[in-house]
C-alpha cells in the first residue's frame, strides 16, 4: 500500500484561498527572521561592495585626489587610460595571464587523473602538490624572485646540466619576465586545483567508470569521455577560482617579483591601478583602471556563466 503525502481534495487548488488564521503569522515570522538573518550580509555587501563600486565609477569621471573631486568627464579614460603608451601592453599582459589559466588547470587535471588511477605514492604526492597553497603570495614571490634571479639556483641548475646557453635574467628580461610570472602563478594554484580535481574524480560514481572499462574504454578515451564529464563541476570551480585570482589576485606576485617591469612587461590592470593611485597619486585614474578591471571581470564571468548554462542544457 502506498500512502500519498499530498493533501488532495479532488478539487483544483486555489492558491489564493489559504487558511489565513494559522499560515500568515507563521509566514510573517519567517519573513521577519529571514530579514534579520540576511540584514548583516546585505548591509555589508552594500557598504563594502556596491557603494564603493558606484563611488569608483563616479570618481573615475572626476579629478579626485583622495579628498576633493571635480567632474572631468571622460578625461581619465581618454588621457589617463587609453592614451597611456603602455595601455596595449598592460591589456595584453592581463589577457595572457587569464588565457594561461585553462592550460594550468589542464595540467592539474592530468596530474589529478594520474593520482586517482595510480595508488603508489598517492598521499605523498597529494601532500607535496598541496603545499604551495599554504604559502602567501609574498613568500612565493620572494622565493621565486630568488630562484629565478640571474645568479639563482635555476640558472645554476641549467649550467650544471650543460644548458648554460639558456641562462637568463628571467625576471629582468622583457622576453621572459611575463612567462616566468605566469608559470609561478599557475604553479601556486596547481596544488589546490589538483586536490579539488582529485576529490572530484574519487567521489564520482565508480559504476560509470567500471561500465566503461567493461566496454573497453581506457586511457585517453576514459579521460575524455568519462572522467571529464564526471568532474565538470570541479573543473569549472578550478577555472573560476584561478581566473578570479588571475584578474584580481596576482598583485602580490608582481609586486614582489618584478614591480611591473622591465618597462611594463609584467604590469597588469590590477597592478597599474595600484601604481597610478598610490605611487603617482592619480586616484581618479586608478579608479578608471578599477572600472576597466571590473568590466573585464564581468565579461569573463558572463562568458563562464553562459558556457555553464549551455553545458547544463545538453
Amino acid at each position: 500500500m502506498t500512502i500519498s503525502l499530498r493533501r488532495s481534495t479532488g478539487a483544483p487548488v486555489d492558491r489564493r484561498r489559504r487558511p489565513r488564521a494559522t499560515a500568515q503569522p507563521l509566514l510573517r515570522q519567517r519573513k521577519f527572521w529571514g530579514v534579520i538573518f540576511v540584514a548583516p550580509a546585505i548591509t555589508s555587501v552594500t557598504l563594502l561592495m556596491i557603494i564603493p563600486t558606484f563611488q569608483a565609477l563616479y570618481y573615475s569621471f572626476t579629478d579626485w585626489n583622495g579628498r576633493s573631486a571635480n567632474w572631468v568627464g571622460f578625461a581619465n579614460y581618454t588621457q589617463g587610460v587609453f592614451a597611456s603608451p603602455d595601455f596595449l601592453r598592460i591589456l595584453l599582459n592581463t589577457l595572457l595571464i587569464i588565457v594561461s589559466v585553462p592550460f594550468g588547470v589542464a595540467f592539474s587535471l592530468i596530474i589529478a587523473h594520474l593520482l586517482a588511477t595510480h595508488t603508489w605514492g598517492r598521499r605523498l604526492f597529494r601532500g607535496i602538490y598541496f603545499m604551495p597553497i599554504a604559502l602567501s603570495w609574498v613568500v612565493i614571490g620572494l622565493t621565486f624572485g630568488y630562484l629565478l634571479s640571474s645568479r639563482g639556483p635555476i640558472n645554476d641548475l641549467l649550467s650544471a646540466i650543460g644548458l648554460s646557453a639558456l641562462r637568463q635574467d628571467w625576471l629582468g628580461t622583457e622576453a621572459t619576465a611575463l612567462g616566468s610570472l605566469i608559470l609561478v602563478f599557475n604553479w601556486a594554484f596547481f596544488g589546490i586545483n589538483v586536490v579539488l580535481l582529485y576529490t572530484g574524480m574519487t567521489t564520482a560514481d565508480p559504476s560509470v567508470r567500471e561500465a566503461a572499462m567493461l566496454d573497453g574504454a581506457s586511457g585517453w578515451k576514459m579521460l575524455v569521455h568519462i572522467v571529464l564529464p564526471q568532474t565538470r563541476r570541479y573543473i569549472e570551480l578550478c577555472l573560476i577560482l584561478t581566473m578570479s585570482a588571475a584578474i584580481t589576485g596576482v598583485f602580490g606576485l608582481i609586486y614582489t617579483m618584478t614591480s611591473g617591469g622591465p618597462g611594463a612587461a609584467t604590469t597588469t590592470f590590477e597592478y597599474v591601478l595600484y601604481t597610478r593611485s598610490f605611487n603617482l597619486g592619480h586616484f581618479s585614474q586608478g579608479a578608471a583602471f578599477g572600472i576597466l578591471l571590473f568590466l573585464f571581470s564581468l565579461v569573463f564571468a558572463v562568458l563562464r556563466l553562459r558556457s555553464g548554462v549551455r553545458a547544463d542544457d545538453k
Binding site: 521577519f32 540584514a39 579628498r67 625576471l171 622591465p262
Partner: protein, 431 residues
C-alpha cells in the same frame, strides 16, 4: 508589531555598527592646540637613522612632557603608504618628506610651516623647495633637515690592485679605469637593488649625466617641456653610459642583482653610484679604503656635485597636535638639531655645519676646494609619472633592452602628458 520594530531596529543597529566601523578614525580635525606637549607620531623613511634617534631624545629633553613616537615605514613603499594614510585622514602628525615633486603630491595634506617657524630659519636651510612655487613667500609645506648628495662610492684598495692610481673624472678615464679593473678580475661598476625587483635608482646617474650636459637652465627647459630629453647632448651622455654595460664594465643583471652592496663591501666591486646616506655604512664596512667622488659621466673633467637640502619633515594638516609636530620640525633645523645630525654622520641642511662622517666631509671639502658646481637632485623636480618613465627607461637602457633614444623619448612623452597642475616651474637656474 513588536517583531517589526525589533527587525527594523536590528537592521539599523547593524548598519550603524558598520558605518561606525567605516568612519572610525576618520576625524579630520585640524587641531587647534598651540601648546607644545603630548605625543606625536613621526613616520621615518625606512629604518630610523641614528641622527633621528638622537634628535628625538634631544627634543624630548628640551620639551619635557613630549613624546615622539617613531614608526618605521619601508622605503620602497613609503609614498604609497603615506598616500593611503593622508587620503584616509589617518596621517601621522609628522612624516619624512623630500622636496620638489615628491612633496608636491602631499602639499594639500601638509601644514604651512611658515606660520610656526621663522623666516630666517627657513632661509638658513634652503627650505624654498618645500614651498609653493619654490618661493618662501608662499606656504612652506616642510623643512629640509639634511643635505644629501649623490656620488660614487669607490674602494681605493680595488683601484690600487687594478693599477688605477686616481679615481676617474671623465668618460675616457672611466673607461680606462674600468678596463684595468675588469682585467684584474673585479666588477667595475655595480648596479642593483637589494629587493631584487624594481630596478636600480637610475635617476642618480641621470642627475650627473644631464646636469653636466645641459646645466640648470637646460633642466628648467626639460621640466617645462620646452626642451627634449632626446637632444644630442643628453642622448650622447646616456649612450656612453649604456656602453659601460656592453663593454662588460657593469654587471649584466642590473635590474635584479640583490648583492651589489655585499659585493662592494666584500671588495669584489670597485664602484657604486649611491649617496651620502650610505657613507656611514660604507665606512663601517671598508674603513679608510672607501671614498666618494662625483660620478665621472662627462666628456670633460667633472665639475658638478649633485647636492640638495633633501630629506625633511612635513606636518600633517590632520595632526591633532600641530604645534608640537611643528616644534619638532623646527628643532630639527635649529643649531642644536643640526649639530646632532652632523655628529651622527649626516650632512646638515644648514650651510656651514659640517659632517662627522669622513667620506661626506671629504667630498664637501673637495667641492669647496675645486669649486664644483652644486646642482640639486634632478628627480626631486620632476613629476612622479616622469620620474617613473625616466627610471624605468634608463634601467632598460643599461640592461641592453631599450635604446637610449627610445627610453628618452618615453620621458618626453610622459612630460607632454602632464597637466598644468602637475607641471611646476621651479626655476632652478634662477633666470
Amino acid at each position: 508589531m513588536m517583531y517589526r520594530y525589533l527587525g527594523s531596529a536590528a537592521v539599523l543597529v547593524t548598519a550603524a555598527i558598520l558605518l561606525a566601523g567605516c568612519s572610525a578614525g576618520a576625524d579630520t580635525g585640524s587641531g587647534s592646540s598651540t601648546e607644545i606637549g603630548g605625543t606625536i607620531t613621526l613616520w621615518s623613511y625606512g629604518e630610523e637613522t641614528q641622527s633621528n634617534k638622537d634628535l628625538v631624545a634631544g627634543f624630548e629633553k628640551k620639551y619635557p612632557g613630549t613624546t615622539v613616537k617613531v614608526v618605521e615605514q619601508p622605503g620602497d613603499n613609503y609614498f604609497a603608504l603615506l598616500q593611503a594614510s593622508v587620503t584616509s585622514g589617518k596621517a601621522p602628525d609628522a612624516f619624512l618628506m623630500f622636496p620638489g615633486g615628491y612633496q608636491q603630491q602631499f602639499a594639500d595634506y601638509s601644514l604651512d610651516l611658515s606660520k610656526y617657524i621663522n623666516r630666517t630659519d627657513l632661509e638658513s636651510v634652503n627650505a624654498q623647495f618645500f614651498a609653493k612655487d619654490s618661493n618662501l613667500d608662499n606656504p612652506v609645506y616642510g623643512v629640509p633637515t639634511v643635505s644629501n648628495m649623490y656620488y660614487t662610492l669607490y674602494n681605493q684598495d680595488v683601484l690600487d690592485a687594478a693599477g688605477v692610481a686616481t679615481f676617474p673624472t671623465d668618460w675616457a678615464e672611466l673607461n680606462d679605469a674600468c678596463k684595468k679593473i675588469t682585467a684584474a678580475g673585479y666588477l667595475c661598476l655595480g648596479y642593483g637593488n637589494t629587493t631584487g625587483s624594481g630596478g636600480f635608482s637610475a635617476y642618480q646617474d641621470f642627475s650627473y649625466m644631464s646636469g653636466q650636459a645641459v646645466g640648470l637652465a637646460g633642466w628648467d627647459g626639460l621640466l617645462a617641456g620646452t626642451e627634449s630629453y632626446t637632444q644630442p647632448a643628453i642622448l650622447d651622455q646616456v649612450e656612453q653610459w649604456a656602453s659601460l654595460e656592453t663593454k662588460g664594465y657593469t654587471n649584466e643583471d642590473v635590474m635584479t642583482w640583490r648583492d651589489v652592496r655585499t659585493d662592494f663591501l666584500a671588495g669584489k666591486t670597485a664602484m657604486m653610484v649611491t649617496g651620502s646616506w650610505d657613507a656611514q655604512w660604507a665606512v663601517d664596512g671598508l674603513g679608510d679604503a672607501v671614498h666618494g667622488a662625483p660620478a665621472p659621466f662627462s666628456d670633460d673633467p667633472i665639475d658638478v656635485l649633485i647636492r640638495l637640502q633633501d630629506a625633511g619633515i612635513s606636518v600633517s594638516v590632520d595632526s591633532k597636535n600641530p604645534a608640537t609636530a611643528a616644534a619638532y620640525a623646527a628643532y630639527n633645523i635649529s643649531d642644536e638639531g643640526q649639530k646632532i645630525i652632523a655628529a651622527a654622520g649626516g650632512v646638515p641642511a644648514r650651510t656651514g655645519v659640517g659632517s662627522s662622517n669622513r667620506v661626506n666631509q671629504e667630498i664637501l671639502a673637495n667641492a669647496e676646494a675645486a669649486g664644483w658646481t652644486q646642482m640639486p637632485m634632478y628627480d626631486n623636480f620632476i613629476a612622479p609619472s616622469v620620474n617613473e618613465a625616466l627610471n624605468s627607461g634608463l634601467n632598460q637602457v643599461l640592461a641592453g633592452q631599450l635604446s637610449a633614444k627610445d627610453a628618452l623619448g618615453k620621458v618626453d612623452a610622459a612630460t607632454k602628458a602632464l597637466t598644468d597642475a602637475e607641471r611646476i616651474n621651479y626655476n632652478l637656474s634662477g633666470k
